[in-house]
């Protein structure tokens, strides 16, 4: 048992921050309140420190590389065929990657690890703890989402391999075609017709049933294409990266999709990164869109998740709302809101403890990371 005393708790529920104690037992939060005493519990005094739920980045490629690779990206995307929904990112993951340890040093206890964006139908992602030796045991949820990609990345690489597409319109068409065919397959099965088993289309069934989200890499006008394609089937979906969302506020809000914004901090180029409008996060949050932040690790280091919170605040996001964008909102995107993302009794005892208030105070930093009731990282 671990008893955390006198922390300023930012619960990420409807409740305001308060000073109190948290008792952890069996990896779960047992009790939250003031003046908790528990015989035999290890006590950690957090006076003057700020306690948040363990941070979550739902969009990363962390660990998807060969053994010994620092961040892992080489094995994140196959780029061999534009339609590869049957790929599971977990089979590319190296649990020994230093990136997981590094996540803990930065208060991150859960990562959404998803395929990269070179294919169009990229495969499924998984949610994982950031500690452990066996990725299949670390994993909290397999088949967490179906990852899709529009735009720059899938364009052109297939043409050199003698395949379509070679243009943005070609990319979007393949996306539309996949969902149209998969829908016809699902409906034929539902009607009891004899259909040959198709694994690629099977992956789409939980997406059509809104059991898992489609998460689509898109920016700028690609967002309009994505919203049009995916709302047609009434899917649960999120827009990933979402640079330029400020020009599509109404469409995004009306579609009911979520936003996973980032990474922030690239140079401005003429292509997808021409316009990275961080202030769109504040605007969408005000419109009721559930926004998350991502550093797209290892493209940016997981240390930058805190920098992303700071930057979102710098560009207009409320300093308390920004905390939800790295806790409960990404938990919801991964369908894990009943297990992680807030400080509530019954949830996993995952916490990030900061000196200073993250997203408010420059220089705020993690001093403890607690995963399922154990101190996984302590700043010396």
């Amino acid at each position: 048992m671990l008893l955390l005393k006198n922390a300023t708790i930012y619960p990420q529920t409807e409740e305001e921050p308060f000073i109190g104690d948290v008792l952890c037992e069996g990896g779960k939060i047992k009790q939250i309140g003031k003046g908790i005493e528990e015989e035999g519990a290890e006590v950690l005094d957090l006076t003057g420190l700020n306690l948040l739920p363990g941070l979550v980045d739902s969009h990363s490629h962390a660990g998807l590389g060969p053994a010994g690779d620092m961040g892992g990206i080489a094995y994140s995307t196959d780029a061999s065929h534009p339609v590869k929904p049957e790929m599971e990112a977990i089979y590319s993951a190296d649990p020994k990657s230093p990136v997981y340890r590094y996540a803990l040093e930065n208060g991150i206890t859960t990562l959404g690890v998803i395929p990269g964006s070179m294919d169009i139908i990229d495969g499924t992602g998984f949610a994982t703890r950031t500690w452990g030796d066996n990725i299949f045991e670390m994993c909290l949820k397999r088949g967490m989402c179906l990852k899709l990609s529009l735009g720059e990345n899938p364009k052109g690489i297939f043409q050199t391999q003698g395949m379509e597409p070679d243009s943005r319109m070609g990319v979007t068409f393949i996306l539309e075609e996949y969902f149209a065919n998969a829908k016809a397959y699902m409906e034929a099965k539902e009607r009891g017709e004899e259909v040959a088993y198709n694994e690629q289309y099977e992956v789409a069934i939980p997406v059509f049933k809104r059991e898992i989200p489609a998460r689509i890499h898109c920016t700028h006008n690609d967002m309009a294409s994505a919203i049009q394609c995916l709302t047609k089937y009434n899917l649960w979906f999120t827009i990933e990266h979402a640079w330029g969302a400020g020009n599509y506020l109404d469409e995004i809000a009306e579609s009911g999709c979520g936003i996973v914004f980032g990474p922030i901090g690239g140079r401005r180029s003429f292509f997808e990164s021409r316009f990275v409008d961080v202030d769109a996060v504040a605007k969408l949050d005000a419109l009721g869109t559930e926004c998350c932040l991502t550093v797209d690790a290892p493209l940016e280091g997981l240390d930058a998740l805190l920098s992303h919170m700071e930057q979102a605040v710098r560009e207009g996001t409320d300093p308390l709302r920004v905390m939800k964008m790295v806790t409960i909102h990404p938990a919801k995107v991964m369908g894990l809101q009943d297990r992680i993302g807030t400080v509530e009794a019954g949830k996993d005892a995952n916490f990030a403890v900061f000196k200073g208030v993250p997203g408010t105070d420059m220089g705020a930093h993690v001093v403890y990371t607690i995963g399922e009731g154990d101190i996984k990282y302590q700043k010396n």
């Binding site: 590094y102 920098s307 700071e310 105070d361 420059m362």
Partner: protein, 376 residues
């Protein structure tokens, strides 16, 4: 851009962060694009009430190559990859003001930037200081030949290993020694320009901005250049400068810290920001840049580094200096920019709150040469 030109105005009752560590509560008079007076109870015709506002000198990025990439063609105008030793080149000729303006540096309070050759050349060429927005390169230039860019990183090897070398750090060291020790220059234009630059470097008239990622690269660079005690060294990237503290102090070198967020560099190099902040507080001059190993990144990154340094830094003005007076001094342009001081260009940023202390501080206005280039 509002393009509002102020011939004469007085900013009243501001918290003026001078840039050198001092903070002054008072007024600042601007005339014809210059700061003409800092003082109390200044009077004049056009007054602007700045009560409750914080004013800083416009921030300076201490050395990156944004604006020189020829992005439409990925032409990388910042590296002359025909030879690893090209000290005679001047980055100014590669700089496209439109591409620089596209970065919107001024929206992050950055009014000047040190434009440098990339990290692929051992001696890549000379650097220039320019303002961050404009259409005409002559009009945005503050000064040219402010430093010689060097690189002791693996980028040099990556590019030149199949082009006749260097293929190893020892070969890089040999080439650098040769370039430094050379005394016989022919009378042709190339040789004479090389002499001009290298003489300035050897005598300390022109600093050398040396890209070194690791502590080994920093120590090697100091060793190769130890016969030139007058040489002024600014190490950049410097992700492991915390482990080279002793040598940096002994050599009286400065540090321009590169961006560590991108490409997971902080994870790879285990940068100790607390130690870096200690070094800064005990006298080592620091600047900050958005430059990374193989690319320069976005305007946001300067304040990200500032925040990491603020973890242990007790005086936020130490960080303000890294963004203002230090780079101006290091690159020899403190007669033009880097402080709120009479005689300097009226380059300043108006904030509600202090951006080095609070993320929620709001940039209200960016002014270059007395002209408002950005307003929230």
């Amino acid at each position: 851009m509002t393009g509002q030109q102020r011939t004469s105005m007085i900013l009243k009752n501001a918290t003026l962060h001078i840039g050198n560590g001092e903070v002054f509560q008072g007024d600042m008079k601007i005339e014809d694009g210059k700061i003409v007076e800092i003082g109390e109870s200044l009077s004049g015709e056009e007054l602007c009430d700045m009560t409750g506002k914080d004013i800083f000198p416009g921030f300076i990025d201490s050395g990156n190559f944004l604006g020189t990439q020829d992005m439409a063609y990925f032409a990388k105008d910042y590296n002359e990859n025909s030879s690893p030793v090209t000290p005679y080149l001047d980055i100014w000729h590669s700089l496209d003001p439109d591409e620089l303006s596209l970065q919107e540096f001024y929206k992050a309070g950055i009014t000047s930037t040190v434009v440098t050759p990339g990290n692929e050349g051992l001696l890549g060429g000379t650097c220039a200081v320019v303002k961050t927005i404009g259409k005409n390169i002559n009009k945005i230039t503050v000064r040219r030949d402010v430093a010689l860019k060097a690189s002791f990183t693996g980028e040099v090897i990556r590019v030149f290993q199949n082009k006749g070398g260097p293929k190893t750090p020892m070969a890089m060291a040999g080439l650098l020694k040769e370039a430094l020790s050379r005394t016989d220059y022919a009378s042709d234009y190339r040789s004479q320009r090389t002499k001009e630059v290298m003489d300035a470097v050897r005598t300390g008239k022109m600093p050398v901005l040396a890209a070194c990622e690791s502590v080994s690269e920093i120590e090697r660079f100091f060793d190769v250049t130890k016969s030139y005690p007058d040489m002024k060294i600014i190490v950049t990237l410097a992700y492991e400068a915390d482990r080279a503290e002793k040598s940096i102090k002994e050599r009286n070198a400065a540090v321009v810290l590169g961006d560590t967020s991108r490409s997971s560099l902080q994870m790879a190099h285990k940068t100790d920001f607390a130690k870096l902040a200690d070094m800064a507080q005990s006298g080592t001059k620091f600047g900050l840049t958005v430059l990374g190993t193989d690319m320069a990144w976005g305007k946001e990154m300067l304040l990200w580094s500032a925040s990491k340094l603020m973890q242990t830094c007790k005086n936020s003005e130490t960080i303000v200096s890294m963004l203002t007076a230090n780079p101006a001094e290091l690159f020899g342009v403190s007669d033009r920019i880097g402080m709120l001081k009479a005689g300097l260009d009226a380059d300043y940023v108006v904030y509600e709150g202090n951006p080095v202390e609070k993320c929620s501080a709001r940039l209200l206005e960016t002014v270059i040469n007395g002209e408002t280039v950005y307003q929230a």
